[in-house]
Symmetry: C2
Subunit: 212 residues, 2 copies
């Protein structure tokens, strides 16, 4: 059965973005350090339309993370913040050929028409909640899995609702000290997790959990 | 050179003890779940004077964690709380044959005479700070490494002071939601960490970091 798979980079002290996130700095102070393990990889660069790059123990993880994916869900902050595009049709951080290469469903409170980009990415704005977004994503995915892209807030909504099937944490050995916690606001949510994979790679450890 | 090695079990959401820690429940609500991976292991049971038990991917990690150790440091809460033994000579949680099998140095504000137990464990109470405790532990260890046992508060003191050489986190896929965070109160402390080992085992992933 098609799964909802969530992956995110997290600091050892539990943050997925640093403090003082803003339109200009959506990852917050120091937050870029969470993603530095990925940038040199050929597998990452190819996804972003770049040539070259290296192969290391992370490569297989990145390759697998985009296999059998038919759609993507993200929160509006990950799409591109809340500011500009309530007044004008701003199209997010992602440029003309975004790295998703699937239909993307954005959970937001602001209605707007869908946008089609190059390379197989489209953006559809879903204003009636996370379950509707998941339903639309599954329909668009045609039997393939759906990726939940983040950020923390929409991920917490899906965790609370028990809708995530697989959780992959790219655990980065840095301390951000403050910022957006991945695991916060979960209240009494009971989440059964089983670690089904662990890969140590330069600058990151990839931990894969099955959610039950 | 002899190292200070720190290991601790942590929930995926960053807690090393659950909420509402007390004399009666020093691990807090749900905190015992952080240690359940260890209890069935023959390697753990032997250390605690018990026979039998199983062998799995954690066994080697537990065996290595006690190799080449000559002394142990812990905070007073891990020794046995602050209540009883300020008025009477209470000897902590650890019984007549504690599982440390080395001299143990307890960082505390309360002076009291040392106690010798069976099986190679002694308890020495150090009231002049973490650096003194480390110095005494290294002297007692005779060139072997020193283990820092926790809990969170004394570990944070050593992290802030940059005195820990190796950090091993037994990452347990549970969410405690609240309690004692391992990585809190570190302020602007810069800690350089390199993951040098990752072992997935039943109910836990063992992550070993070199601190630079």
């Amino acid at each position: 059965m098609a799964k909802l798979r969530f992956q995110i980079s997290m600091s050892l002290d539990g943050f997925v973005a640093g403090p003082n996130q803003s339109e200009e700095n959506p990852l917050g102070e120091g937050g870029m350090r969470l993603h530095e393990w990925a940038f040199p990889l050929a597998a990452w660069r190819e996804r972003h339309g770049l040539e070259g790059g290296e192969v290391n123990a992370s490569s297989k993880v990145v390759e697998e993370s985009v296999q059998n994916l038919g759609a993507t869900i993200m929160g509006r902050n990950m799409f591109g913040g809340s500011g500009p595009w309530t007044d004008e049709p701003w199209e997010g951080w992602w440029g003309e050929e975004p790295p998703f290469h699937t239909p993307v469903f954005i959970v937001t409170h602001h209605e707007r028409p869908p946008v089609t980009k190059r390379g197989g990415t489209s953006f559809t704005f879903v204003t009636d909640g996370i379950e509707s977004a998941l339903e639309q994503a599954h329909a668009a995915a045609g039997g393939k899995d759906v990726a939940l892209g983040g950020g923390a807030i929409v991920a917490q909504e899906y965790l609370r609702a028990g809708l995530i099937d697989e959780l992959q944490i790219h655990l980065v050995p840095v301390m951000l000290g403050d910022g957006a916690r991945l695991f916060a606001g979960l209240g009494d949510t009971k989440i059964g997790l089983e670690c089904v994979g662990s890969v140590a790679a330069p600058g990151v450890t990839h931990l894969t959990y099955r959610v039950s």
